[in-house]
Amino acid sequence: MSAPALVLHQFRYEQKVFWRSPPAVFFTVMFPVIFLVLFASLFGDGEIDGLGIKASTYYVPGIITLAVVSATLVNVAMRVVEMRESGRLKRLRGTPLPTWAYIGGRVCNAFVVSLVMVVLVTAIGHFLYGVPIPTETIPALLVTLIVGTFSFCSLGLALSCAIPSEEAAPPITNFVVLPLYFLSGVFVPESELPDGVLNIADHFPIRHFFQSCLTVFDPNTVGAGFEWGNLLNVALWGVAGVLITVKFFSWSPRRG
């Protein structure tokens, strides 16, 4: 098989496994939708101080951030640890499938799920809460999504290196991402957060990814809406993830 065909082959089975896995579908698809409906229904008509946009408009990019990080970082870390500890990763290593094709299939899966979530969250925001659909900023949204998928998948692989067992995967992964959602203004509007908190969040990619998405959905945005500074931060985290993965990745189970 040619290189793209191998990636596509792997992607097909990743898709099957993803949509058949109740925890994956619940946490990546249902959970963000529930949060969107909850936040937009409770606070939707209020205005976010300093930004001049409605809360419902603010929460669409916020929940997209939640869904994308879940589809990429969280999912990749959980799946890779599960595959490593079950011995399947080691087994895969013994087949002629090249490593890049395996990772390519995984990243494609994360990208497609992220894309589905962007469309779903935008549609719910628009039809239930009247959030405007971006038009001019769609290229910026796609670039943000591509950079985000690469970086958060890479960080998911890096995080898997630090997770010693299958049981430890959900608590460690949540311990990493949950505080960052809060600190980055994904759940609590940034106007309500003290500056010190945002300064901490500014060191991490979730905040920068969210800001890129926010600009895309902000009706006050003028022009194409590319947040190059934020995207650079996200991309650099992705590069760091690659370096950590290359150095510490393990194909064999950690136990025994």
């Binding site: 082959h9 089975y13 011995g87 189970p253």
Partner: protein
């Protein structure tokens, strides 16, 4: 003489200060089933991991299908199949999907349907792997090892946890591999499995090979003493028997045991004496030492301290 499929000389592997494999030599010829036996921690899995290309060695020469597995490439990987000691298949894919996925990794895979049939999972082809029994999951694992149509298969304890009928079925599959001309390196700690399947056997203990041969010859088994036993008679009976029959006599938990290298003559003397003295040989048994007896004697009481 064709080139051996596996050739190992002076293999050494250490984990830190611990020398797990201390100079192992092995040779496996094309088309044979080679059983690699040894207690847990004796260095079996360490040796096989080197041959599979998973583990770096500290010394010695290794050639598998003419290639040093430390420098294995995609072409080599497509010629070698594995059943690892522990591997849980993806529970959310069906048997057929699992095999179709792995088949896609190879240039010339076996037919998926045929392979499902070969391991006896035809009725479960559309069942998700997570719903199969332990034995059926292991058979799926074997099917995945076969799907690439590899020339050489490493089966690491492929029947551990099987019930007796599942084991017989797995043996049939492995025998089928011989008919397909495959070379099989089988790691096991079931002696009956080695006896039933293997052309050659090597026993490893504490990181070194202590015996090699065919299952029938191992450890001088063919020439070993035959064991004759019967229940010890009540007080007084059987006096004078031991002087009348040649061999080495002993008592083992309620049994009288005779070890003899000339069983035909000894049995004749024993039964003649019994008839003449109106003596019943209750629970009479005649046994050649089993592969297991030889194995236990070879590895006797040793607790391996090797690597994983």
């Amino acid at each position: 003489m064709p080139e051996p499929v596996i050739s190992v000389s002076g293999l050494r592997v250490s984990y830190g200060d611990l020398e797990a494999v201390k100079g192992v030599d092995l040779e496996v010829s094309e088309g044979e089933i080679f059983a690699f036996l040894g207690p847990n921690g004796a260095g079996k899995t360490t040796t096989v991991s080197v041959l599979e290309g998973y583990l770096e060695r500290d010394g010695g020469e290794v050639s598998v299908l003419g290639v040093d597995p430390a420098r294995a490439d995609r072409a080599w990987r497509s010629k070698v199949g594995f059943v690892l000691q522990e591997c849980r298949m993806e529970g959310l894919l069906t048997v057929r999907e699992t095999l179709e996925m792995y088949a896609g990794y190879y240039e010339r895979p076996r037919s998926v349907e045929e392979t499902i049939g070969l391991v006896g999972l035809a009725e479960k082809a559309d069942e998700r792997a997570g719903r199969l029994s332990g034995g059926q999951q292991r058979r799926l694992d074997v099917a995945v090892a076969l799907i690439g149509d590899a020339e050489l298969l490493f089966l690491d304890e492929p029947t551990t946890g099987f019930d007796p009928s599942a084991r017989r079925q797995a043996w049939k599959v492995i025998e089928g591999l011989r008919e397909l001309g495959k070379t099989v390196m089988l790691t096991t700690h079931y002696m009956d499995e080695a006896q039933a399947l293997a052309d050659h056997v090597a026993v490893i203990s504490e990181g070194a090979i202590i015996a090699t041969g065919t299952p029938d010859d191992l450890g001088g088994r063919r020439n070993a003493a035959t064991r004759v036993s019967f229940e010890a008679p009540a007080n007084g009976a059987g006096a004078g028997l031991e002087e009348s029959v040649g061999g080495e006599w002993s008592r083992e938990s309620g049994l009288v045991v005779l070890r003899t290298t000339d069983p035909t003559r000894s049995l004749n003397q024993l039964t003649a004496w019994a008839l003449a003295n109106d003596f019943q040989l209750e629970g009479l048994e005649v046994a050649q030492p089993s592969l297991e007896d030889v194995y236990l004697e070879l590895t006797g009481g040793e607790r391996g301290e090797g690597g994983p």
